[in-house]
Symmetry: C2
Subunit: 339 residues, 2 copies
Amino acid sequence: MTRRDPTLEDVAREAGVSRATVSRVVNGVRNVDPGIQETVRRAIERTGYRPNRAARFLVTHRTETVALVISGTGDAFAARVFADPFFGRVVSGALEYLRAHAKHPVILVAESVEAREQVVDYLSKGTADGCLVVTMQAGDPLPTMLTAAKIPTVLFGRPEPGLAVSHVDLAQAEGARLAAERLVARGCRRVATIHGPRALPAARDRLTGFRAALAAAGIADVPAAEGTFTVESGAAAMRQLLAAHPGLDGVFAANDLMAQGACQYLRERGRRVPEDVAVVGFDDSSVAAACHPPLTTVRQPVERMAAEMARLLSEHIQGARTEPAAVLFEPELVVRESA
Amino acid sequence: MTRRDPTLEDVAREAGVSRATVSRVVNGVRNVDPGIQETVRRAIERTGYRPNRAARFLVTHRTETVALVISGTGDAFAARVFADPFFGRVVSGALEYLRAHAKHPVILVAESVEAREQVVDYLSKGTADGCLVVTMQAGDPLPTMLTAAKIPTVLFGRPEPGLAVSHVDLAQAEGARLAAERLVARGCRRVATIHGPRALPAARDRLTGFRAALAAAGIADVPAAEGTFTVESGAAAMRQLLAAHPGLDGVFAANDLMAQGACQYLRERGRRVPEDVAVVGFDDSSVAAACHPPLTTVRQPVERMAAEMARLLSEHIQGARTEPAAVLFEPELVVRESA
DNA sequence: TTGAAAGCGCTAACAC
DNA sequence: GTGTTAGCGCTTTCAA
C-alpha cells in the first residue's frame, strides 16, 4: 500500500543516468549537459521525486530551515502571545524575509522550563540552521542555553549583560523621549508612566529615558506604575496612578496594549482622552489605530527589525560573520488622537 | 574550531561497548545489562552526546515531531492571526498535549499560495510525522494538498465536502441556538446577526442555525451582515445593521472579536449594551471577559478540541487508526453582562 | 561532462 | 545480552 517514495536512484534509473547527475540537476550545479538536464527534469516530474531532507542534512549539515523561537513563561503564555499584535509583526517580518530567501521558517514556542530544554534539544541536532529569538521574560536563560549549544542565534532586543550574541534593538530611550516631548508640547505638566517589568532591559530603558527627558523639561517628579504589557494590566496601573494622582494630565504607557487599558479606565472614570488626560503608547501595533481614541504612539519598525534579524542570522550561518553584531533602529512618533 | 559533534561511535568507544549497545540504551530498549547501562549513560554524559535526528529519521522514518499549520491568505495574515486569541487557545491546547506525549511541536504558517506549497514540500519529507491544521480561509486547498501528499492530517473544523480527513468540530448550529434562545429569553424581538464569510462551513452553520432557532421562536426575519472575524469588521457590520434597522434590540456575532466591534459601535451611537441592544458573541476567547461590557458568549472548548486533534493524529501516525474520524464537541452558553 | 564509490550517523536484523 | 553488519537517501571527491 505505502509504495516507497521515489529516491534519487529511481529518478536516475528512469532517466538513464547516474545518481550523481540527478543530484547535480536537483541542486542546480553547472556542468550538466542541457539535454541531460531536460531528461532528468522530466524524470523527476514523472516520478514525483522530492529530495529527502534528512538524508541531505546528513551530508551537508544544512537544513535551509530557520526557527523563530518565542520564549517566556507564566500562565497561559501561548494564549497571551497570540493576543499581542506585537508578535504578529515579528512573525510577519521574519516570514517575509525568510521566504524571499528560500529558507523554511518554523515557529517554536518555549512556554515553560522543560519546553526550553526541548527546544534547545530540538535545535541542537539537525532541525534548523539557526534561530531568531524573541523573549518576553526577564532573565530568560534561553539565549545563554542556545549559545552554549553553539546554535547560531539572533535576539530581538539586547541580551543580558555578559552575553555576546547578535541582536537588533530599538533606541528605547530615544523613543521614550519622543513620547515625553509630545506630552510636554501639548502642555501636560502632571505626567505619569505605566512601565513594563523592570527586569526587562527594554522596559527599563523606556522608563529611565522617559524620566530623563521630562527632567530635562523641568518635570522632576514622575509617578510610575508597573504593568505586564497586557490591556488589563494597563487598566489596573491606570487605576493606581489615578487614585494617587487625580490631577494627572498625561500618561506614557510602555506599549499600546497597556495604553489601551489606560484609555479604557480613564473613560470609565469620566476622563476624556486627550482633553483631560493625554495618552501616548509604544509600538504602533495594530491596536493603536483601532483604539478609542486612536493612539498617538512611538512606532517601532518591528517588521524591518525582524527582517534584519533574519539577515544577520543568514550571515552567521553562511559563516560570513563570526563576531556578534548589534543593529539599532530609530523610533518614530506617530500622532493620532490620544495625545 | 568546530570540533565535530560526538556520535554514537564516540560514545561507544568511550564506554568500551558497541554502537548497537549505546543505541539500545539511548532508545530505552530492554535487554541491556544494568551495569553496562550505567557505563553508557556516563559516557553519554561525558561526551555530551545528542542523537542526530536526521540520521535516525533516515532509518526509522519517524521524527517525533508534529506540525501545527495555520493557514489562510490575505493582507497581513500572520499579523491577523496573532491578534486573534482564538489561535492562542488552539496552540495552547495542542502544545500541552504534544509536550505531555513527548512530541516536538512546531508551528508553520501558510500565509500565501507559495507558502502553502512550501509547507507541503517541507512536510512531505522528513520534518514531521503529521500535522494539525486550522484554516481561516474558505475553500482552502491545503487539506487536499496534504492528503494528496499522504501526510497524516487532522483538521480543526469539518473539511470541504468530498474530502475525507479526520477532524474535530463544534456543534455549530447548537451553539447558534444557545445564542438565539438567550436573546429571546431576554425579550429581544428585533434580532440581527453578524456572520462570518459564508464560504466557511462553520460560519454558514452558525448563521443558518441562528435563523432556524429564531424561526422556531416565531421570529422569521433576521437581518444579517457579513464580517471577517475582526473587531473592525464587526463594527462595520454593526453600522450597516443599525442604519437599516434602527430598532434592533439584539445581535448575535459569530465570534467575540466581531461582538466586541459591535459593542464599541453601539456605544458610540449611544446605545447601551445590554439595556438597549443585547449582544452575544461566540468562542469565549480571552477578549470576551475583557470586553466592555463583558461578553455573554457561546463557549467553544478550543483547548480540548486541539488536544483531541493531537490525540487523533497520534493514532493515525501509529497506524492505530486508518479511517478518518470526526469528533464533535458541544458548545456552552457563558452568561456575562452583554446579554 | 559524467559515473563509481565512499561515507554522513543511526537502527535493526541477525549472529554469536 | 552484546556485537557485526547492512543499509536508509543523499552529496561529493575522485577518476574516467
